[in-house]
């Protein structure tokens, strides 16, 4: 069974700092998604990574995918308070099922 593991699970950081969230998965997949979730809210799609070596950037967030290492990273540059949320990676199994990581709860302090 596919396992998707994120680390860290909790991250408290100061504004202006950089940090990386890691997402490891246990079986072959070419599609990986990153979502943001605010408390009590739904899942907001951030990035879709469709192939090995894919890199996508939006504002202060950048995501990458290494399918050979079965690893994706979400890098935060010069964090701001508005980025505080829980971030999930999800790996697509076949075409009809997403398997999510446990989530990384990110808190950015002024």
């Amino acid at each position: 069974e596919l396992k998707v593991e994120q680390n860290p699970l909790f991250l408290s950081m100061q504004e202006g700092k950089n940090y990386t969230i890691y997402c490891n998965y246990s079986t072959t997949s070419d599609r990986l998604y990153w979502y943001r979730q605010d408390p009590g809210k739904s899942l907001e799609s951030l990035f879709v990574l469709l192939s090995n070596g894919a890199v996508k950037q939006e504002g202060r967030l950048m995501a990458s995918l290494d399918t050979k290492a079965r690893l994706s990273t979400l890098h935060i540059t010069a964090a701001v308070h508005d980025l505080s949320a829980t971030y999930f990676c999800a790996v697509e199994v076949r075409v009809q099922k997403l398997v999510f990581g446990q989530g990384t709860r990110l808190t950015i302090n002024p």
Binding site: G40, S42, E92, V95, Q96, K97, L98, F100, Q102
Partner: protein, 117 residues
Amino acid sequence: EPEVTQTPSHQVTQMGQEVILRCVPISNHLYFYWYRQILGQKVEFLVSFYNNEISEKSEIFDDQFSVERPDGSNFTLKIRSTKLEDSAMYFCASSYSGLAGVYNEQYFGPGTRLTVT
């Protein structure tokens, strides 16, 4: 921009009662999904649905659960006899094609918070 909608936003029910959670997927989408998220935990796949039948289901989706597309727009999740452990946020999602080799992003609805007392 088209979006997935869900009703109700919050449902409180007593243990043993039946509940129906409703979703309206994006209109030209063909694949539909239910996920659930127990408070503070990860999102878990329940079931996928295509062409009026279940495509795949998880071990969570036991005989107490059923899904239906009663008309051209709604997609429902029924829990026949709710248990305390069914308390969770239930998300509906839809995607356009779901075909192998074709990009298939799932769009999530706002969720229904189910509280079983």
